[in-house]
Point group: D2
Chain length 123, copies 4
């Protein structure tokens, strides 16, 4: 998934504001669903972020087109850990492991098959 860096993403340092990389990764996760003709919100199920570990290698700048890559790192019955990286012309700018927990009616729940298939395709 390709993302253009706009004014709103930058701060006075002239680079992308640090938390915006998380937004970019979340957009890419949503597109995993949309791209498969599904929605990230299914019946009463959806995911919330439980844990994030991220490393900032190099900054992205206004006008850059970056790409978000997503791989499955670990899949359990109620959670999925993804490794996402943000890349510009083959150069890694940002890497993150994010653990998502599945909720149903706001309680942890077993990931339904509807979502499982998508994660399995990422591995």
């Amino acid at each position: 998934m390709k993302i253009r860096v706009y004014y709103e993403d930058t701060d006075l340092g002239g680079i992308v504001y640090h938390s915006k990389y998380l937004n970019f990764c979340e957009r890419a996760r949503s597109e995993l669903f949309f791209g498969a003709g599904k929605s990230p919100v299914y019946n009463e199920y959806h995911f919330v972020v439980k844990k994030i570990c991220a490393t900032y290698h190099k900054p992205a700048y206004f006008g850059d087109i970056v790409e978000v890559k997503t791989k499955l790192e670990k899949l359990s019955r109620v959670s999925a850990t993804l490794r996402q990286s943000i890349v510009r012309n083959g150069e890694i700018l940002f890497e993150m492991d994010v653990t998502l927990v599945c909720l149903k009616d706001n309680r942890p729940a077993r990931i339904p098959d509807y979502f499982l298939e998508l994660f399995q395709k990422l591995s």
Copy 2:
């Protein structure tokens, strides 16, 4: 209501990103409710923005403490128009007229007394 300008509010131009002034005004509107011990979401009622006219006079910068001032401009049965200004040390940076429409269950509805009192105090 006083608001500090943080990194996230700025863009690479070194000034506050233009749509953020709307956020600042919305925070001030929410605080009108919270400050009176009320909530902007009451039963099935809440407000949505219908119209905005805004003029940008001078930019706000990182670290600035700005103040949002709010006056009632016009009140009807289903909508309220507020005049909000953002001020730094007595200097007006930004002015906006915003028209809010009351919704109940996502349909236009007569503004309940719960909210009316608040607006009337602003005039």
Copy 3:
């Protein structure tokens, strides 16, 4: 220019947060430049928002793909007024007139030809 609505664009009302439509319009303005192989920041020239008048017709929702359309409304030596609309499947959700002022070294300046050509193509 097509834009997907992501989680970050919504608020607890389940719709796109009102100031985000301004962000969408700004992205479209930036793409006018990028799409023509130019940059919105040229030498010491760039634009700032001077005035905005916007009407919210219908909300956009998570997952929607909306389109931003931009027309030139008025062009003067130092400013340009654009009419931008956000459309979903042919239905207008949002309309805005935005006046941009050209700055050089943070002072109002005559719009350079580099930018003029782009605006003229919009009319």
Copy 4:
């Protein structure tokens, strides 16, 4: 540092959008400087985020007043690791270790005394 949760901070899930907690922590870091009569941008020095590890315990909701607490975890010549937590009524909602690297003219640089004193007070 106390922070109110506003509409803009929430998403359609009705809770604070996950990357916003990073913004809240960044505001608290900026206030460490402002509160001491200093600026986070000093001469050509400033900090960038190098690494973040965060755990989300419980969500924050619209209208909540949360508090950001900051402790020094580790201080080296060029970087500082802070432990920040976001708390609501004594309950921890979010915890994060963030490593900041000092830059001068966008190159890693030894942290000047101007900043060192502030970090040392946090331990």
